[in-house]
Symmetry: C2
Amino acid sequence: METPELTEKISDCLKEGNVEGIKEMLSSIHSSELAALIQSLDQEERSKVLNSLDAETASEIILELEKEQRQEILGELDHEKIADIVEEMDSDDATDVIGELPKDTAKVVLEKMPPEDVWEVETLLKYPKDTAGGIMQKELVQVIRDSTVRDTIAWIRLIADEVQDFNEIYVTDDSDKLFGIVSLKRLILANPMIKVGEMMEQVVVTVTPHVDQEEVANIFKKYDIVSLPVVDENKRLLGRITADDVIDVITEEASEDIYRLAGAGQYVHPIYTPTLTRVKLRLPWLLLTLFGELFIAFVIAHAFKPTLQRVVILAAFMPAIMATGGNVGLQATTVVIRGLGMQTIILKQTFKVIISEMRLGLSLGIICGTIAALIGALIGIHEPEVIKIALSIFIAMTSATIATAFMGAAEPLVLHKLKFDPAAACGPFVTMFNDIFGSIVYLFIATIIF
Amino acid sequence: METPELTEKISDCLKEGNVEGIKEMLSSIHSSELAALIQSLDQEERSKVLNSLDAETASEIILELEKEQRQEILGELDHEKIADIVEEMDSDDATDVIGELPKDTAKVVLEKMPPEDVWEVETLLKYPKDTAGGIMQKELVQVIRDSTVRDTIAWIRLIADEVQDFNEIYVTDDSDKLFGIVSLKRLILANPMIKVGEMMEQVVVTVTPHVDQEEVANIFKKYDIVSLPVVDENKRLLGRITADDVIDVITEEASEDIYRLAGAGQYVHPIYTPTLTRVKLRLPWLLLTLFGELFIAFVIAHAFKPTLQRVVILAAFMPAIMATGGNVGLQATTVVIRGLGMQTIILKQTFKVIISEMRLGLSLGIICGTIAALIGALIGIHEPEVIKIALSIFIAMTSATIATAFMGAAEPLVLHKLKFDPAAACGPFVTMFNDIFGSIVYLFIATIIF
């Protein structure tokens, strides 16, 4: 059934008070489709539907929603129901949801949850959201070295309900210190009487909880792993990070890079977020550029007015020079930022990368400069000093592209070297630098030539 | 040991002809570190090292390298060695590497490989690289419905070497039609005499081989899965896609979006790629913008020259109007493209998203326009018609931001509706539109006002 059709049938059932009918209709649909459905219902209907669903299904739906909608919908449920729903989640997801609740709601919900879940959530809440600790879950299978394969299988049977998905067993000593890993595949093929300590594999890589989530994602990519143990500085096992969480992290980090490059702050949904919040996210970057551009206006008005007054047509080509330089700079910045993020460019290559981008900038500048100068000569064919105009265009465009290629490549590398996030201020900053440099060089050269 | 130190020791061993020494030194290092090491050696040394390593380690190193370097290094090895190395890879990786080789080398290498590997690679080579078929692997564990748990475990024991990492068994009939999935966890806990057909779980989601890899990534995100079966139109099992491949896909697709937004074509490494190749990637976008900007020059020179001649200071504020409008447009485009890519914005929301972005554009335009008009009035304080200048700036900036917010939001949505990739032409296109619109509206308004 399509969503609109289903929505209508559910409305009918709600009117009839037919809760069983709703349950039956929804039982065969995956939670991600249910989430889409819930969003198409009105406020009263969706509370009724969520209350009629079992806590596990409701928890899956809640996790599929956008953050803003999740907060809205949870706000409509009573604390008891929220506690039931959160209990069904893995500890990492439960922590995220509780972390998003208003402080006093979170406190009441935690009071209604079983003590062991509360302990897990409170432990995880201590780590910043964007670190290994913030994305790890406490649910995992851990056995001590002396356990036999048979003991291990018996243990898995006991905790099978609590730990949903896992493909490896962590082997520790009795103080939780991590010694090795046994894959389920090895466990299945092993002699039941062998000790796991004798058949375990070496731990390839671990992280401590304060490692940044982008670094965690890079470890997954580098080692082609699907789960990663998190340990403290004494190698004691604290939790594990799974590939599906990393997929979310990579998507999130890539979006962050994109938004920052475009000076759009961070991701918020265009429909579900108030305009004022979005103005606050985007305005700073606009103002940064705006003040740069107004500085240009100031310089032109005070230093180059006589040149422009004499040859007014020069003004017509300012946009072309600024846009071309800006594009070359943005291309360089983008390639370098993404290369740094994916670790295909390393700091040791700084000099080579900058030289390489400047060489490219020069090539592009000569091509674009020649075209612009020729077309500029055609457009200004009736001007008395057309050759001088074309020459100014060519020199300014070539200088602008080299300079912005240099800035575009060097700025993220320098920010990275200084331990700042290279994507933080680059896009708008490079544009501003370029526009100031491009327009002033252009008018300066023109002033000299004329 | 650090890389430079290790490089030196390896050079020493090579001089002494001490192959065993090299092997020992390298045995404890992960392939991703080995790959970094190989890159620091010169051509002669690295061939010797790769030839001295066993095929499995060499295959892991080869897969860690950048595409350009991989092609270079494989070009230095003989065909026999390449065949040995490729044989060790999973079928999806082997297919990628063979697909990158020159046609005649690929043919010779395939002739030297075992027939069953050749069949797998040739089957996979038929699918485009960026589809489900192009990223799936043929290695998987498949049993028929009537097999008992004990049979299944015996079968796993037989193929354990060939299928490296798996967490689920695919249950089919004898014509390969997929019926269900059994996780290793369930298998471990099951009664050995039960038939897998009786304990299997329903298949949540499958894809056909021609589904785009971006869609595959979205399925992984939506269903929080770590592997996905690929089937033909008759539900016959063809292969599987694993989370680590999807992590690579997401990274790749995010980079593609970023490069396209910035008009940088696609990712190539700045150091390892010839300048000419990079000029070809970047120039088209620069030319697109350049011709737009030269059109502006043409219009200004022919239509607005008298206005500029009368009030030359107007030219000083063109950059500010164009840059602000351009930034607002780029912000809107970026948010919409990324939202479409992550499927948090759906086509049904087109109208709402466009209205929401235009409202935001208006707010940002009023704020920036007011600031620019005030500062403009200060800069032009000695001009006789300073109020008219400020008014032109304000009206032009506000109109430009609404128009580019509209264009920025609408263009990717329309491209998406028409089944084009919304990121394909957006960045440079929005900039060009904005610059043309912004500068012409500005001078048009100024011409009317004065």
